[in-house]
Subunit: 500 residues, 2 copies
């Protein structure tokens, strides 16, 4: 038995090594690679991907997993080995359903779709992207056809990002959430707006970078097992539990984004750094789902990083760096400014009160596309109508509307809702953490983040993929994923800021 | 035929992709990787190496090469396809002789040997390294035994770094060279020494870095297909003809080393950037041998970079950066200082007049170890005796003596002589280039490096591994590798500096 398990770990370890190597190549591609390197890099990544897929779907691995599954059938849910076998078997069973030819075709189609999307967005011309999106959607439907019929075809897609989650469940959650958020936004709109003009002043990039790095260190990001580099889009990536890196960016029009992106990516990274080291080089050594992952990044970015308590702790040191820019602004004024609510066109720049509405819009369109109740060519018009309905604003062009996100060109359909689920989970965890370890606000105000991180480590991080995401939320908080805590949190926060 | 050739290119391309990926991982390991990442990185590299070896020795590849070799037997030496088949077949035939188990054992032994070497050097205690070196040498002898008997067993090792080169040939070349260099050094020692004290002053690292980058750009290094990063040891590495990177370092005790290391690595890199793009993703897309490679780096570092003509061109801009450090020193004085001859203990810091003697010492010891005419435990004593004989100085400890170089711990036995061969070849090429394109000194003095680079591109770079190194030297210069031009060059240069 132990011999079979060792062989399993060796086979899975090779796949992990190949995926880890590919992640290093992608990280380099996004940070330091000279532009001349891109063609060869594409080929190197394709070869690594092909070999990793061959190894991840080898009959040897399948037979081994089959045998181990029966041997470990009786093991309890706390057995690491049983969890490894279960997770590896699930990955395997999904991977073997998808023919290698399909994977290769999808790679070609999405490469072309990405280029078309970039051009379409630059020219704000949806017609350039349309035929590619149609091809992506055809492939998505073929992908769904490889799997057994589900309650809803979209379930198949959702399951890749949020294992076990059903379309019907997400809809139920979102339908409870949407009217509450719309109502809140309306109430806020009737109040006098907060002043955030000073946030558009000139801030020195290097100083912001140092502040961001120092903040991540304060939260508990371990720099001996990570680093932060500049990239066009901030992201977190991991090649090992002991090598988890983040990237960040600087935008002159929105300089403080560097601080909040740094917090967000550090939140993701601390999750990966906190996984049980015994899981290294196995498929357990990742986050439980994108939703759980996002709960960590959003918690550090929003529940900590956009709280008054945090800025009562940290504002003086920011002001020391930027005395002119923040002249005449106190911690409270700063807190209000960074939490200004304003319906806006672009999801990634949306405030906490409006963010989920952007996500819901996308989820509804994706489901309708999969169901064929809408066709791709009508997307711009439907997008704009929904923006009007949910946020009361209409994009002046498709670049600021339906073309804003890269996901569809990558065929990442099923992904968006995890952003909103992450927000909900973050507050559920936050409430439970408060019950367990006491006044969180006081801890944040004192800069004592170790208590928070230790709790997250013990409850979430160390488990990696051992528990299914919904089982994990239930296990830790005693509840299913629910919108109530999030609505409560938003209402409390904005009542204070906007005197509702 | 073309179908077989395409399949060959596809199979070789996969191996190139894996090796390219491994090179990216090594580059990251030496530049940006946080220290936590090292264990996982070792495993990722081992997995990539194992898969690349499997693919490079697959029976499918062997059969294909066999068939193509007979089909292309009649093709002329100018056929790229025939060259690819010849080079790939040679690589294949060498690789299949070495059993995978041996490769794995060697990886283990050298990993341990490297750690022991680092400790031994730090403590200047040869006994720590001795048992590991003995194991390395046992494996080297086993490695030799996998190959057909050669004129000399050391030929097998040499061939890995300088294809086709024979031990007897290197000995003949070195035996002609040694007395001439020893004689030159003695003549120099009788002259008054030049003043180079100002080179030890404090130089700002960032400014040196910029000067080094600007110099590389001036030579013709293409920054859109490369970059320079900081690493503990300078090196050049390539992941594609369009992604060829260099690293550099800064040493407070020897600050100008940044400039000369930058030139050296840029010389290597321009070689790889200049390879015919049709060879991309094939084994032809590398340098012809380590000796030819070194001829390029040493040419830019020494024949250009340590020439009076270069500093007549460039000294003013260096002086603008460092007016205090270079106060009272003219271009001529600077030129003399950077060419100071002084027998010294450490190979990598040796001047041009003494450098080859360090190499010859190592070659003789390696041959004697392989022949078993000496035993490893006597190395420190023999090393010191040879240092006394060749350079007139004796290391005060083994860290500054037999333990200074990493190569033996890596099992890179057979490597050293390529450093000296590179010096010889660099001058042979330089002389021919002068005949072909006219007064090189005048071109260097005017900063017109394009003419030099174009000649090197056409004669050397673009061919990659198409021609065997010795055939290439003969083809380009009309002569075999010979010590005469180098002796002539050294004598002329130092006669001027030391008024011999």
């Amino acid at each position: 038995m132990s011999e079979k398990l060792n062989l399993l770990k060796e086979l899975l370890g090779e796949v992990e090594d190949l995926n880890g190597a590919a992640s290093v190549l992608s990280w380099d591609q996004n940070t330091y690679m000279p532009k001349g390197g891109s063609e060869a890099r594409g080929q190197q990544l394709a070869t690594l991907g092909k070999i990793a897929h061959q190894k991840a779907t080898s009959p040897e691995l399948g037979t081994l997993l089959q045998g181990l599954k029966s041997e470990f059938a009786a093991a309890g849910s706390d057995s690491d080995d049983a969890a490894l076998i279960r997770v590896a078997a699930r990955d395997y069973e999904k991977a073997v359903r998808v023919p290698p030819d399909f994977v290769a075709e999808q790679a070609l189609v999405t490469t072309a779709a990405f280029q078309a999307w970039a051009e379409a967005r630059a020219k704000s011309d949806f017609s350039i992207f349309l035929p590619h999106l149609e091809r992506v959607l055809e492939l998505v439907r073929r992908y769904i056809s490889f799997f057994p019929p589900a309650d809803h075809p979209y379930d198949v897609l959702l399951d890749d990002y949020e294992p076990g989650m059903k379309t019907a469940d997400v809809r139920t959650i979102f339908e409870a959430l949407r009217p509450r958020q719309v109502e809140l936004i309306k109430a806020i709109a009737e109040q006098p707006q907060v002043n955030d003009k000073f946030l558009r002043r000139k801030f020195d990039e290097r100083k912001l970078w140092e502040f961001s790095a120092e903040t991540a260190r304060g939260f508990g990001y371990d720099w001996s097992r990570g680093r932060m580099d500049k990239a066009p889009h901030p992201f977190e990536t991991s090649f090992s539990i002991n090598d988890v890196r983040i990237t960040n960016r600087f935008e002159a029009q929105n300089p403080l984004a560097t601080i909040f992106s740094g917090m967000h990516e550090a939140g993701h990274a601390m999750y990966e750094q906190g996984i049980e080291f015994a899981y290294e080089r196995t498929p357990l050594a990742r986050g439980a789902s994108l939703g759980i992952h996002e709960s960590q990044s959003r918690m550090w970015e929003n529940l900590v990083g956009r709280s008054l308590a945090f800025w009562e702790f940290k504002y003086a040191s920011l002001k020391r760096l930027f005395p002119e820019q923040l002249d005449g602004v106190g911690a409270k004024g700063f807190f209000r400014a960074i939490n200004k609510v304003e319906p806006s066109l672009i999801r990634v720049n949306a405030d906490e009160a409006t963010y989920n509405l952007h996500v819901m819009l996308r989820l509804e369109l994706e489901i309708a596309l999969v169901e064929r109740t809408i066709v791709p060519k009508d997307l711009p018009q439907i997008w704009n109508a929904k923006m009007k309905e949910y946020l009361g604003i209409v994009p002046p062009n498709d670049a600021l509307g339906v073309l804003q996100d890269v996901h569809w060109s990558y065929s990442s359909i099923g992904y968006f809702s995890t952003y909103a689920l992450g927000n909900l989970i973050s507050v559920q965890l936050w409430e439970k953490m408060g019950k367990d370890i006491g006044d969180l606000e006081a801890k944040v105000r004192a800069g004592k983040f170790e208590a928070l991180l230790s709790w997250l480590r013990a409850q979430i991080h160390r488990h990696g993929r051992k528990y299914d995401p919904q089982a994990l939320v239930l296990r830790v908080t005693g509840s299913k994923i629910s919108p109530e805590p999030y609505v409560r949190y938003l209402t409390d926060k904005y009542s204070e800021i906007y005197h509702l």
